[in-house]
Symmetry: C2
Subunit: 190 residues, 2 copies
């Protein structure tokens, strides 16, 4: 009989799609095997374990998002850059909820360090170039931006903002306005 043509890459890609459909927490090797019309044991020639698959999906998501972020930031500065980066995160979370969740899967330190995850903070730091912030305020600002982007995306994804008006899009725009105002006038502790 014809072969399915499994490869590590194809499994990772299909795993990412599966995650977007059923949620990262609910992906299984069984479901993935079913999708390829293949027996579960066959997958073990390409991934070493369920954990391995999840790790690969995580790395894929981190890379995809870093690439989109880098592209979005090209040629933009200040508020333009801030809005672009924020939208990349939010849009990715909305379109790819499973992959977005994958990015918060715990990786072992070496894997994490070799991942595109490190690019994320670098890219966030890059948009601060347009604002006048020096260390250590830059680091504080990077962490605050990361918190807002991640927090908003997560809460919105969970439906936390969908049961009341105004529409969450409105709050998002205002959050970006607020962050811009903040970076433009970063408070110094007294």
């Amino acid at each position: 009989m014809a072969r399915a043509g499994l490869t590590t890459e194809r499994l990772t890609q299909a795993g990412a799609e599966l995650a977007d459909e059923v949620g990262f927490d609910h992906i299984t090797l069984s479901a993935l095997a079913r999708r390829f019309e293949v027996k579960v044991a066959s997958l073990y020639a390409h991934v070493t374990s369920s954990q391995d698959l999840k790790t690969r999906i995580t790395l894929l998501a981190l890379q995809e998002l870093a690439d989109r972020a880098a592209e979005a930031l090209a040629g933009r500065a200040e508020k333009d850059a801030l809005i672009a980066l924020g939208n990349v995160y939010r849009d990715y979370a909305r379109k790819h909820p499973g992959r977005y969740a994958a990015m918060h899967f715990r990786l072992d330190p070496e894997t994490a360090n070799a991942s595109a995850g490190v690019k994320h903070s670098q890219l966030t730091r890059a948009i601060l170039r347009g604002y006048q912030l020096s260390e250590p305020d830059q680091t504080h600002a990077v962490r605050l931006l990361g918190s807002v982007f991640h927090g908003f995306a997560t809460l919105e994804m969970e439906g936390g903002f969908s049961h009341s008006l105004p529409a969450s899009q409105e709050s998002w725009s205002r959050a970006l306005d607020a962050l811009d105002a903040l970076l433009r006038n970063w408070p110094t502790p007294k």
Copy 2:
């Protein structure tokens, strides 16, 4: 032989402790049964399913956190209240990572509506009384505060801030300063 004295409440409580130890995603009825030195099937007299246990842990966490938030806000206003509420969230996430994660377990709408979850946004809204914001800016601000609290707590819990200086505590203080400054001078879109 002596009986273990299982009740729904004790299972929920032990489940919450287990979640704090191994992570909410990794709690199992088997592990819980082991902890009580009881067979797994015995648990089904007190919880209807694994899903049911998780739901109960979620409700417990939402309630605990709402109670702590309410207590922390009593007699405080403005920045004092903001700091107190933020710290309640952050401290809870640090001390009870499993329960904190439980709060983002998907509940069916009716359960969610009957939960202490609704109190959270009310309490957040309460601290805005000290600042001069009217609708719909209040809602935008509630959502922003929620995003920062949740985002920061999550990223810190994952160790996202632990591999670089300054210490995350410092960034947290500065984030609260920033939010206070923002609420005091909420930008209007042009």
